[in-house]
């Protein structure tokens, strides 16, 4: 029974092998004939300056040789020959694999005119194309593919600037309540009453991440409040530059609150750059110090839940904020309040209550209106098949 099945399998296998091999067999017999004739040459060779770059590059395009077929294993690809126009000698500068119809010569000298031939190579034989019309490389002052980005940046940037200016002139602005930020006062107050520490975790990224910058700015506001309440603040950090930035910020905040004497530099201390080493250290601090309040503001990765669950376990009030979409669910699950994405960046303005900063929030809202309008118009136009509006937003 079993052997019968095996025999059957063998039969199928031979069949499959035959089927698979037959084209190669045929191809081999064919190629035996054409090993003596060179491949058909490439046609329609054009060369032009590669757009939107810092020069030194010429794009070469061609129509591939009719002998360039996936089943022809002898066809080796193309060699790019270059000569200075009009009378230079052709020399190889680059090569391109079989199937290619475009390549770049990245070793061109700006302002020099070049002409190109493409050599199709099969086995030991080859054939050259006609020379291309001359081309020279240049540097560009503006990246034309990014004009949509420029317009978008200008619209949103100017809207923000406009409202910052208007706020300066004293026009009152309404900003809706953000629950997580309303709770900051209460959270700091509670820690003061309980006589326990407040932890501030500015994320695990360095200061060159804008989320960390946003976190440290929020720290500035919180630290001022802490100084006013005369509570205790501890900030374990995972990056040295963040430590420096936090120290500058907190010192300044204590100074502004009129309590420079209460500032303790060692309360802002470095643990380690390593993500999970830092998580292990902070977890240890949390269970030993039992802070009343923990802030998580900045860029977080997988350690978010490790920290937040431990904080939750000891019963701290936790206020989180991050723009890492993947970590938001964990903070939402384990913290009392979570600033979602954009709210993290709005927090500093919100807490400062400075009109200029609040004005920038209004500017952001204008950006939202623009985006909503773009979606609305785009969807309508697209639905009626009038125009593919989406392509206007394609980036390069």
């Amino acid at each position: 029974m079993a052997t019968g099945k095996l025999r059957n399998q063998k039969k199928y296998f031979t069949l499959i092998c035959l089927l698979l091999f037959s084209p190669t067999l045929i191809a081999q017999t064919e190629s035996a004939d054409i090993t003596t004739t060179p491949p058909a040459p490439v046609t329609e060779v054009v060369a032009f300056d590669t757009p939107n770059d810092a020069g030194s590059s010429i794009t070469i395009r061609w129509k591939k040789s009719p002998d360039d077929r996936p089943d022809d294993s002898l066809f080796a690809g193309y060699k790019i020959l270059r000569a200075i126009y009009p009378r230079g000698e052709f020399q190889q500068t680059a090569d391109a694999p079989a199937g290619a119809e475009e390549t770049f010569d990245n070793e061109a000298r700006d302002g020099v005119e070049y002409t190109y031939r493409i050599r199709a190579v099969r086995g030991d034989l080859y054939s050259d194309s006609e020379a291309s019309p001359p081309a020279q490389s240049k540097q560009q002052w503006f990246h034309t593919g990014r004009i949509n980005t420029l317009i978008g940046c200008l619209i949103i940037g100017l809207a923000i600037l406009f409202f910052i200016n208007r706020a300066k002139s004293g026009k009152k602005l309404y900003i809706r309540k953000i629950a997580g930020l309303e709770a900051v006062d209460e959270a700091v107050g509670r820690a003061t009453e309980m006589g326990r520490k407040i932890f501030f975790i500015p994320g695990i990224q360095d200061i060159y991440n804008l989320q960390t910058i946003a976190g440290v700015i929020i720290l500035g506001r919180v630290a001022k409040l802490v100084a006013e309440y005369d509570a205790q603040l501890e900030i374990p950090v995972s990056r040295s530059m963040v430590m420096v930035a936090c120290r500058e910020t907190v010192k300044e905040a204590y100074l502004n609150a009129g309590r420079p004497d209460a500032y303790k530099e060692d309360a802002i201390h470095y643990l380690t750059d390593e993500q999970f080493g830092y998580a292990a250290g902070v977890d240890g601090l949390i269970v030993r110090e039992k802070p009343a309040t923990i802030f998580y503001q900045g860029a977080f990765f997988a350690e978010s839940l490790i920290l937040a669950e431990t904080g939750n376990y000891i019963g701290a009030i936790q206020i989180a904020g991050t723009a890492m979409p993947a970590q938001l669910p964990f903070f939402v699950a384990a913290c009392d309040y979570t600033l979602i994405g954009e709210e993290l960046f709005a927090a500093s303005a919100y807490l400062s209550k400075e009109p200029k900063l609040l004005g920038s929030l209004k500017g952001q809202d204008v950006g939202k209106v623009v985006i909503l309008l773009a979606i609305l118009i785009g969807v309508i136009v697209h639905s009626f098949g009038l125009f593919n509006f989406a392509q206007l937003f394609r980036v390069q």
Binding site: N52, A54, G55, Q139, Q140, W141, F142, H143, T149, C153, I156, G157, I160, I164, D206, I207, L210, I213, A214, I217, R239, S240, M241, M243, E248, T249, E252, H269, Y270, D273, E274, F276, G277, A279, A280, A302, L305, I306, A308, E309, A323, P325, V332, A333, A334, I340, G341, E342, E343, F345, S348, A349, K356, L357, L361, G363, Q364, G367, K368, I371
Partner: protein
């Protein structure tokens, strides 16, 4: 000097960075690469500050025989063990190749510690979902349902429970739909919001309106 220069520096560097995005011409073409390298160099210098701080606080603890001081000693020993191995006993630049002393510490101490710390998430994910996935309000119910179906849809049991349904309507399909459609919509809203928030914060920092870090209040 103390206040003005940093503000000015922030503004200039910020604008140059924005401009280089639109200008391929020299010298703007090398700025991104150059600035990134510079920042990495600054960070590599700065790590001294952090490390010295860690060693200072730890040795103070040991010196004063503060609570838990032996653990502070462990920090110091651990630090010197790997740095000495890395700088002096691991062949210089090739310090990370397998077989070096540095690599031995990395593989047998660093890796199990970090992998286990990471693995604690398996427990925390369970306790957090037990607490958070409760139908207290309508919003919480949505959270619960989405989480519940996606979770079930990703193990064979989920499909087994719904095997009586035609293909394409089973739990794994529902989980896939939730991920691809409503989840995607929410993610997009969050991402667009973040973009606006970042643009606004960047502008405030570059223009010196927000000077908490760079210039003091």
């Amino acid at each position: 000097m103390r206040r003005q220069v940093p503000l000015l520096l922030t503004a200039i560097v910020g604008f140059v960075y924005i401009i280089q995005f639109f200008v391929p011409h020299k010298p703007f073409n090398i700025i991104e690469h150059l600035f990134t390298d510079w920042i990495l160099i600054i960070a590599a210098c700065a790590i001294w500050l952090g490390v010295l701080n860690l060693l200072k606080l730890s040795s103070e603890k040991v010196y004063k025989r503060a609570k838990d001081w032996p653990y502070a000693l462990v920090i110091i020993c651990g630090f010197f063990m790997i740095t000495v191995a890395g700088f002096f006993f691991s062949g210089g630049r090739a310090f990370q190749e397998s077989g070096t002393a540095f690599d031995y510490i990395y593989v047998n101490i660093f890796t199990p510690l970090s992998a286990t710390m990471f693995a604690l998430l398996a427990f925390f994910v369970a306790s957090a979902s037990y607490r958070a996935f409760r139908a207290r309000t309508f919003e919480a119910t949505l959270l619960l349902l989405a989480g519940f179906f996606v979770m079930l849809g990703r193990v064979p049991v989920g499909d087994l429970m719904t095997s009586w349904l035609p293909q394409g309507y089973r739990l794994s399909d529902l989980a896939g739909w939730i991920m691809m459609v409503p989840n995607m919509a929410g993610q997009r809203a969050i991402m667009i919001g973040i973009a606006l928030g970042i643009m606004s914060t960047s502008l405030r920092v570059i223009l010196g309106i927000e000077r908490t870090i760079t210039g003091g209040e």
